[in-house]
Subunit: 316 residues, 2 copies
Amino acid sequence: MTASRSLRSPQGVSKQSYECVQKAARALGYVGNPLATSLSNRASDLIGVIVPSMTNAVFPEVLSGIAEEIEGTGLQPVFGVTEYDPEREYRIIRQMLSWRPAGLIVTGLDQPEETRALLRDADIPIVQIMDLDGDPVDCCVGISNFDAGKTMAEALLERGFRAFGYVGAVDVRARKRLDGFRYALAEHGLEFVSEKTTDAASSMVLGRRLTEEILLESPTLDCLYFSNDDMAAGGGFACMAQGISIPDAVAIVGFNGLEFVQALPCRMATSVSPRRGIGNRAAALIIARLGEKERPPAETTRLTPRIDLGAILRKE
Amino acid sequence: MTASRSLRSPQGVSKQSYECVQKAARALGYVGNPLATSLSNRASDLIGVIVPSMTNAVFPEVLSGIAEEIEGTGLQPVFGVTEYDPEREYRIIRQMLSWRPAGLIVTGLDQPEETRALLRDADIPIVQIMDLDGDPVDCCVGISNFDAGKTMAEALLERGFRAFGYVGAVDVRARKRLDGFRYALAEHGLEFVSEKTTDAASSMVLGRRLTEEILLESPTLDCLYFSNDDMAAGGGFACMAQGISIPDAVAIVGFNGLEFVQALPCRMATSVSPRRGIGNRAAALIIARLGEKERPPAETTRLTPRIDLGAILRKE
DNA sequence: CTGAAAGCGCTAACAT
DNA sequence: ATGTTAGCGCTTTCAG
C-alpha cells in the first residue's frame, strides 16, 4: 500500500519509504498495470478520438492538435477511423466506451439516434468537433460549415464571379457548406450553373476527373467551388492539363487551407479551417472536466475559418 | 460462471441456460468489461500499431490494410504516431505494452537498442514493417529500400539519364533508398551532380522549395530523384511554375506510387510500394500467432515495389 | 504515516 | 452442465 501511494502521490508517505520505494521500483524496472488501475478506478486515462478518415489531411492535423494539448497530462489518445460509415462509427464508439475512457472526441454532430444515446448515457465528457450546425450531445468545438460556404460565396460574388459550378465528394459537412454557398447565391438571384457530386471519398484524382467532366458540359463557368482542397487541387490539375488559365478563365476554390495549397503551381482560393485549434480546444475541454464529479455544463466553442482568396483578382 | 461461459463459448452450456443468459444480457444491455477480461487473462485483444507519421499518405494506407485483415477477428487496432522521434517511439511502445496487446506492429528496423530490448522482452508477436535492410527483432514484412533505390536508378540510367540530383527529407528509409541509388550510379561511374537534403518532415511545400534551390544551383540536371512522392510533386510544381518542361528538360522521380500521382498535370516516375499488402501481411502474421503458446519462429516476408516510369521517354 | 481488508469484473481450475 | 474458489494488480476505506 505504501508502495502504491509512493508511486503517485508523494504526500502521505514518509520521505524515507518514498525514496526506498522509488529506488526499488527503478531497480526492478517496475511498470504499473493500467488495466488493474482502470478496473479499480472504473476509469482510464484514455481519451478516445473518432474521425471519419485519415486520408484527408485535416484529421491528422486535428489529432496532432489533440496530442499537443494533452502532452504531459498523462492522458493517452486512442484513435478510431469510421471511413464515414455510421455503422462502424457506432461499433467503434461502443467499444471505446467499454475501455472507460476519460472522455470522447467525436467528429460531427450528425450521428444517428442510437449512437447519440450511447454518447449521452456514457457518464464522461463528450466533445463533438468540426461542426456547429446541429444539436450537440454535450460539448462542441467547431465552425459553422453553412456559414463557411456562405461567406466564401459572398467573397467570390463581391469579386465579380457569376457563373459557378460545384464539384464535390459530398460528406455531411461539405453538404452544409454547399447549402450555405447556394443560399448566398440565391440572395443574389443566382444558382449553380452546374453541379457534379458523388459520395465517393474525396481525392485529387476524383477532383480531376469530375472537373474534366463539368468543364466539358459547362464551358461557360468562371468559378468552380469544391468540397475541399484535395478535390480543388485535382480540379486545378485538370485545368492545367487542358491549358485552361487559372484564375483568369476559371477560378478554383477549395476548403480547409491545407499546407500543400501553397505549393501548387496555380492560384486557388480556400477557407483556412482552424483544425489544429479545434483539436487543442476539444482536448482542453476534456482536461478541464477531469477532476469534476458532477458533469459540468456543456460548452460550445465557435471558431471561424479565415478566407484566403489566394490572389484571385477581381473580375471585370 | 454459466453466464460468463454462455457469452463466449456456447459449447459447455446447456441450450436452455445459454438462451436464458443471452436474453437477459440483451434485456439488460450488458456489455462486457474488457479491462477485467484482460486483467484476468493477462492479455487483451488490442493490436498496437506504431507509425512515424499520418501526414504521409503511406501510413494511413498501411493502417487500412491492417484494419482490413483483422476485420471480424475481434482484434482491435490501436495506433500510435511517433513523429519520427525515437524518444517518443520508446514511450509509446512502452505504454502500449502495458495494455498487454496481442501483438505489436512497428514501423522500421532501426530502433535504438533500448527500444529493441523492450520489444524482445515482450512476450508477444512483434512485426516490423516497411523495411528489410536490417536485423528484425521478430517478424518482418517489407521491401528492401536499398534495392528500391538501386533498381530505380538502373531503370533511369537505362533510359539515358546522366545528370542526377537528389532532393530529400531524409528519414532512415529514404536514406537507404538514396544509398541504393548512389550505389547504382557508382557502378556506372557516376555520382549525384547535386544533393539537397534536410531532416524536416517531407511535404509538397518543402519539395517545391528545395527544388527551386537545386535548379538554381545546378541548371544542368536532367533527372531529380526525391525521397518520396510528396517531395517529388512539390518538385514538379516548382518546374511547372518556372516553365521548365517535364520530363524533357528535367525528369521527376518519386517513391511510393500514391494515388495522387495519377492526378498530377505532369508526368513523373515512381516506385509503387505495396503498403496495403504490407499491412495485410503484418496483421496476418499476428493473427496466425494468436492461439500459440510457444512463440512460433520469426518470419520475414519480402515484398517488391513495382517501378512505374510514368511514360518518361528515353533520352537521346 | 502505514497496513489490512475488500472489491473493481472477469476467468481458469477445480469441484460437484 | 454448473457452481465454487481464488486471483489478475491496483485502489479506496478504515484501523492501527
